[in-house]
């Protein structure tokens, strides 16, 4: 009898044993290891992309050309966008999915662990290729992250082939990651974990994963067409050969709009996990959250041409896309309402994850409102391709997606490391980020409305003061993120021991395993009541 027990214990220790050194990370199929690698990778990319943003803001600090050539400036805006979207935000969400989804649904690991290892390990190569292309003669891609034809076909440099190749790899990685998430959620839920009991983070990721497998292949198609137009004489987008450059924009935005929801739905899931914990109340309107997320995902396929109002389209078309776009604000509004209702009369405390989640709710909503302004077709003729658009998408992506990722990191760090992070340092990080991010992005609305175009290395003199102000905000925001790195390193090294539940109001399976979460969790599925 006692032999059996020790045997079992021994077994457990054996399980926790992992190869050491680089091999552990190269060959690992463990969802926690892979999740960690994704998160670290995303953080590194966040800083590389951030360094490029610093170059952009340094150049724009004053009117006139100071530091870089226009062509290099364009490479910076292009690669900054590509890295932040595909290298920082998306891998960070995938990392969170890897870590949390199996623990949240009571699964021992992801369903396809080997594919999981592949989908991570091809990513560094994709970005290595993209970054190396910057050092080619003629420079890297300079046509904007949206790579509109004919900029990316007729007028692009020799590095375009590398760009296409690297986007293909990123796409394959995301598709594999998405398939893994879907199969895990469909097949590995613990007994009793019915669909409508799944935590919202799992729900939003499930829907995101479907969006990914629907649209990443379309992006792959678009880059392939650019490749063949440029190198193999096809004319998908070349009017001389019977093609049409506007077709490029349709294909790109058919991918592009769902893509922006890929970057925000998991954020909705994160905020829906954090707010109830710190309000110490169950989430208000769980079912309506699920339906709202699904309807946003479906609607996201019907609005792509709101990026193309100025290409000219029949009034009926413009009206269709305008109304569909505005319709998305309804389910989005439902979500904001539910978060506020969750807090209503809750016993709230304001630890760092909650602070970031609250900032998310307010600032993401501002981004939603500027989106609504852009959705008004005649107004968009004025706003299109100005800094107003830049302000809009940075509110939804930085104070939206990125803030949610930071909130998630604070929320789950104690579960990952077993130690509480330094609350005081975290609050510093929060307040510095909050203030600087608004100095950085809010004035962009004004210069945009006044007509300052985006993606231009120089500007008219009347925008000088605002731009200096924006740049200072940018440098401060960049510097504030160093606090975050310091905090994460500190927390990984030690600190106050975290309990299993970590947060007083936290509920869910991930809070039932000890902190730090053991290498293997839920090898026998828990029973969910």
């Amino acid at each position: 009898m006692s032999a059996a027990v020790t045997d079992h214990e021994h077994d457990h220790e054996h399980h926790d044993h992992k190869p050491s050194g680089i091999k552990r990370w190269l060959y690992t199929t463990n969802h926690k290891d892979i999740g960690t690698m994704y998160l670290v990778f995303a953080l590194i990319m966040f800083f590389i992309g951030g360094a490029m943003a610093m170059v952009i803001r340094a150049e724009l600090f004053q009117p006139g050309m100071q530091f870089v050539e226009p062509n290099f400036f364009n490479q910076m805006t292009t690669v900054h966008g590509l890295i932040m979207v595909f290298g920082a935000v998306m891998p960070a969400f995938t990392g969170l999915a890897n870590w949390m989804i199996p623990m949240m649904i009571g699964a021992p690991d992801m369903a396809l662990p080997r594919m999981n290892n592949w989908s991570f390990w091809i990513l560094p190569f994709a970005f290595l290729i993209l970054l190396i292309s910057l050092f080619m003669p003629g420079g890297g891609p300079a046509f904007g992250w949206t790579f509109y034809a004919p900029l990316s076909t007729t007028y692009s440099g020799d590095s375009t082939a590398l760009f296409v190749f690297s986007v293909h790899i990123m796409g394959i990685s995301s598709i594999m990651g998405a398939i893994n998430v879907i199969v895990t959620i469909f097949n590995l839920r613990a007994p009793g974990m019915t669909w409508m009991k799944m935590p919202l983070f799992v729900w939003t990721w499930l829907i995101t994963a479907f969006l990914l497998i629907m649209v990443m292949p379309v992006l792959a198609g678009a880059v392939t067409m650019v490749l063949t137009d440029k190198y193999f004489g096809t004319s998908f987008f070349d009017a001389a050969g019977g093609g049409d450059p506007v077709l490029f924009q349709h294909i790109f935005w058919f991918f592009g709009h769902p893509e922006v929801y890929i970057m925000i739905l998991p954020a909705f899931g994160i905020v829906s996990s954090i707010v109830p914990t710190f309000a110490r109340k169950p989430l208000f309107g769980y079912a309506s959250m699920v339906y709202a997320t699904s309807s946003i995902a479906i609607l996201s396929f019907l609005v792509w041409a709101h990026h193309m109002f100025t290409t000219g389209m029949p009034v009926a078309g413009a009206l269709f896309f305008m109304y569909c776009t505005m319709l998305i604000a309804v389910p989005t509004g439902v979500k904001v309402f539910n978060w506020v209702a969750t807090m209503w009369r809750g016993a709230m405390t304001f630890e760092v994850p909650m602070m970031f989640a609250l900032a998310f709710i307010v600032l993401f909503t501002i981004g939603g409102f500027s989106g609504l302004m852009l959705a008004i077709t005649p107004a968009d003729f004025q706003y299109h391709d100005t800094y107003f658009v830049v302000a809009h998408f940075h509110y939804v992506l930085v104070t939206g997606a990125v803030f949610s990722i930071i909130a998630a990191a604070y929320y789950w760090l104690p579960k990952w490391t077993g130690f509480m992070y330094d609350e005081k340092l975290g609050q510093w990080h929060f307040w510095c980020s909050l203030i600087s991010v608004n100095l950085l992005f809010f004035p962009m609305h004004f210069v945009g409305l006044a007509g300052m175009p985006r993606r231009i290395p120089d500007y008219a003199l009347q925008f000088a003061d605002f731009n200096a102000f924006i740049s200072i905000g940018g440098f401060l925001f960049g510097a504030s993120q160093l606090l975050f790195v310091w905090l994460v390193v500190k927390c990984a090294r030690g600190g106050e021991k975290a309990t299993a539940q970590v947060w007083e109001g936290a509920e869910g399976l991930e809070w039932e395993v000890p902190s730090p979460a053991p290498y293997h969790t839920f090898e026998t599925p828990p029973h969910v009541k």
């Binding site: 369903a111 396809l112 598709i175 998405a178 398939i179 879907i182 199969v183 469909f186 097949n187 497998i213 629907m214 649209v215 990443m216 292949p217 379309v218 992006l219 792959a220 198609g221 678009a222 067409m225 998908f236 009017a239 001389a240 019977g242 049409d244 506007v246 077709l247 349709h250 294909i251 058919f254 000219g312 389209m313 029949p314 078309g317």
Partner: protein, 186 residues
């Protein structure tokens, strides 16, 4: 264990592959959609018949002509007149001047575009130099005619139609057999 996941994994991979195909299917779909709606301002690539029902003299439509050689195209390319006022149903002939100022033989292809896009459906070309490739020897010039009429069914919100041609150098892809010679110059 892995077997349990295989059916779903395969299904999802098939969806992804199908969506890759869908991206390419958007190309013909877009063309069909634009043909039906005139969305992208492309006019028909074949000749219209001249069975213009009747001339609507109560109405006038201004036609503006824009001609532009593409950046890599060295020809001089201009419309004879910049604008013309027509009655719907009336057949008109309009000439474009093309001149090859270089010292080499060049083949050109003009690609038309109509703005506003939907009016493309109502702009009919009976004869157009854009239907075929045009050739000019070094230093030569020619007049290239366009014969057209505006459909009387043109919706009333359109009072001006802009017809714009971009001329491309297609000498590279040209061989004697692919280009039927056309009898256009005067």
């Amino acid at each position: 264990m892995a077997l349990k996941h295989q059916p779903l994994t395969v299904k999802l991979a098939v969806i992804a592959l199908a969506m890759f195909g869908f991206g390419f299917a958007l190309v013909p779909l877009y063309d069909v959609f634009c043909d039906l709606t005139g969305l992208n301002g492309k006019t028909a690539t074949t000749a219209a018949t001249a069975d213009a029902a009747q001339i609507d003299i109560s109405r006038e439509v201004v036609i503006e002509f824009i001609a532009r050689p593409n950046k890599q195209m060295p020809w001089i390319f201009e419309p004879e007149v910049r604008r013309m006022t027509v009655h719907p149903g009336e057949i008109h002939i309009m000439n474009y001047l093309a001149e090859n100022p270089t010292g080499r033989f060049i083949v050109g292809q003009a690609v038309p575009s109509v703005s506003p896009g939907q009016a493309a459906l109502y702009f009919h070309k009976i004869e157009c130099f854009c239907f075929t490739q045009q050739k000019l020897d070094a230093g030569k010039n020619m007049l290239m005619p366009l014969q057209f009429y505006v459909d009387p069914a043109l919706p009333s919100q359109f009072s001006t139609i802009t017809l714009s041609y971009t001329l491309y150098d297609v000498t590279n892809g040209w061989t004697e057999s692919t280009a039927e010679s056309t009898q256009l110059g005067e």
